[in-house]
């Protein structure tokens, strides 16, 4: 396991980023989705981004991935501005989006093929398949995989490029509760093994507390980071510990989901 343990994380700086889209009901006006987003991630940090649906979490992730460009503001990886998609920023969606025409092994090595480095790094393919426990399914097509297995394959596919930052867009959102909890540990294990920077978009408050170093709460319209909460709990965390539950009720209160008391 040589390559897997290398430290190659990178910091991320997002400064006053704005993004608007044409409003769907009125094509002449534009809707401000992100209205001055600023935050930064230290190298190797795991930070969650939570917020109501439609607040622009996915838009922000696409900007960081380089798939879209911001109207104004700066996005920096280390000290380099983000201009286009790049293998150094991995992205995993809620839908695993495995290429159905490729076997699991070929899906996982897709990044190496795309960058033309398959020959030099061929041995890493087996390593990453072992890392996510899919060696046995190497020659299986994705439609045979369960949701959790497909998402593990998608994680391996993103990790094989040794991204400096991994962007996760509700990666466990489509899984059932048990598979999801198992996969949370899986992602944490990968994060600790790879020491990569991770930005996790989720709508699951427990998941955010269980996994991240910090939690950023976004507001909807205008899309802004309203509050950042540090999670100072030792790992591995207990989902039923008093501190965990206190933090949970703080956040629920903040989001006005705690109910009348």
């Amino acid at each position: 396991m040589v390559a897997v343990n290398e430290v190659e994380a990178s910091s991320l700086v997002v400064r006053d980023v704005k993004k608007s889209f044409p409003a769907p009901d009125d094509p002449l006006s534009r809707r401000q989705v992100l209205d001055g987003i600023s935050f930064s991630l230290a190298a190797g940090e795991l930070v969650s981004l939570i917020g109501p649906s439609g607040c622009g979490k996915s838009t922000l992730l696409r900007l960081i991935a380089g798939l879209d460009s911001a109207d104004s503001g700066n996005l920096l990886i280390g000290s380099n501005p983000i201009t286009a998609p790049n293998a150094e920023r991995g992205l995993v969606f809620q839908d695993p989006n495995l290429f159905p025409w490729l076997t699991v092994r070929r899906n996982i090595q897709a990044g190496l093929v795309a960058r033309g480095v398959l020959r030099e790094k061929k041995n890493e393919v087996d390593e990453f398949m072992r890392l996510v426990g899919l060696e046995v399914f190497a020659n299986v097509y994705p439609h045979h995989l369960s949701g959790g297995m497909a998402q593990r394959a998608a994680l391996a596919r993103a990790l094989i490029n040794h991204p400096k930052i991994l962007l996760l867009d509700e990666p466990l959102g489509a899984l059932d509760a048990f598979t999801r909890m198992r996969m949370q540990d899986e992602v944490l294990r990968l994060w600790q093994a790879r020491l990569t920077t991770m930005l996790l978009v989720t709508h699951d408050i427990d998941e955010a507390i269980y996994m991240s170093d910090r939690i950023m709460i976004m507001s909807v319209r205008p899309g802004r980071i309203e509050r950042t909460i540090a999670v100072d709990l030792a790992r591995p965390r207990q989902r039923d510990s008093a501190d965990f539950l206190r933090l949970r009720s703080d956040i629920l209160n903040y989001l006005h989901f705690a109910g009348e008391s």
Partner: protein
């Protein structure tokens, strides 16, 4: 690990898998009946005229009895017999009915509707010319089809991928495409010195349109998230086109290939009967000119076998290429 359960389609006709006695006997019995009826009907005919037809049925009876005896040794043979024998029996019955209607009851006017024995005789007597014609048809079909597929794939990929090319290419496609390739025959015969070359070009044109249409729609409908994922994996344009968009479009491309194949059969036969001086289409109109309808039917039978074989090959190729799709789409 848990594997997803395969969805089982509910209403599927399962061919019989157990070989029953009555299934096994159906073929020789039907053949014997057809032969007996024929002998009854054809008493007035010259024995030489119907000799091969009788021989044909005797062979069927013989082979089916031999296979019935061999079935113990091969489960594959048993399965094949169980699934195919009902079809063969029906085919024998149809030939027998045809024989009765034409030769027996003389319900259909001659010489336009010869009986199966006359068609079989033409088939055997003229086999050299028929084989030669099939060979020529195959050459013309393959050259035209290959040309059309290559052109269609190239234009389809360009139109599907690039919006400027789509802007300028689509109107041409929409105006020129729907015109049947056979409508260009007068022009093609004038433009090209060789009927073979112009026919190949017409077949290519007939194939080009559906292949282009389906390829471009498949490419432009590639799921955006596949392209996004590929880009975050470090993919350049070459990878996006050839490793993402084209594989994603393959199911559509195959529909285009099938439609193009059908169009190419039509164009081939028309082109051969008006311009080209060889091939099965030419043979049919030539035999018709001599009022030898036995030969016309013989050529039609060859054509049916020829075209359906080519179609089957394309189906097999699709099943192999789209093996990843199993369980996603059934067609």
């Amino acid at each position: 690990m848990e594997a997803k359960e395969d969805l089982v389609p509910t209403a599927v006709f399962e061919p019989p898998s157990v070989l029953r006695w009555r299934t096994m006997l159906a073929v020789p019995v039907a053949a014997a009946l057809a032969l007996a009826l024929h002998l009854l009907i054809a008493k007035r005919e010259l024995p030489l005229e119907t000799h091969s037809y009788r021989l044909f049925f005797i062979e069927i009876i013989g082979v089916s009895i031999v296979l019935a005896l061999l079935r113990r040794f091969s489960p594959a043979l048993r399965r094949w017999m169980a699934s195919m024998w009902p079809i063969f029996t029906a085919a024998i019955v149809i030939v027998c009915v045809w024989d009765v209607i034409t030769l027996g009851l003389r319900l259909l006017p001659l010489p336009y509707f010869p009986g199966p024995s006359a068609v079989l005789r033409s088939l055997i007597n003229d086999r050299a010319l028929l084989l030669d014609s099939t060979w020529h048809s195959l050459g013309l079909l393959l050259s035209g089809y290959t040309l059309g597929v290559i052109a269609g794939l190239i234009s389809g990929i360009c139109i599907g991928w690039s919006s400027p090319i789509r802007y300028w290419g689509m109107p041409i496609l929409k105006v020129v495409g729907p015109v049947p390739a056979t409508a260009w025959i007068p022009l093609a015969l004038v433009l090209s010195p060789s009927a073979i070359v112009s026919s190949a070009a017409l077949i290519a044109l007939a194939v080009w349109f559906p292949v282009t249409m389906l390829t471009s729609s498949g490419i432009s409908n590639t799921r955006a998230s596949y392209l996004d994922v590929a880009r975050t994996l470090g993919a350049g344009r070459w990878y996006l086109i050839f490793r993402v968009a084209i594989p994603a479009a393959l199911p559509n491309i195959f529909i285009g290939l099938f439609m193009g194949l059908g169009a190419s059969f039509l164009t081939l036969v028309v082109a051969e009967s008006v311009g080209v001086k060889s091939g099965l289409g030419w043979y049919v109109s030539w035999a018709q000119g001599w009022a030898e309808y036995g030969k016309v039917f013989a050529a039609l039978i060859i054509m049916a076998a020829f075209f359906s074989t080519i179609m089957t090959i394309l189906f097999k190729a699709r099943d192999r290429v789209l093996v990843w799709q199993k369980g996603v789409i059934k067609w």
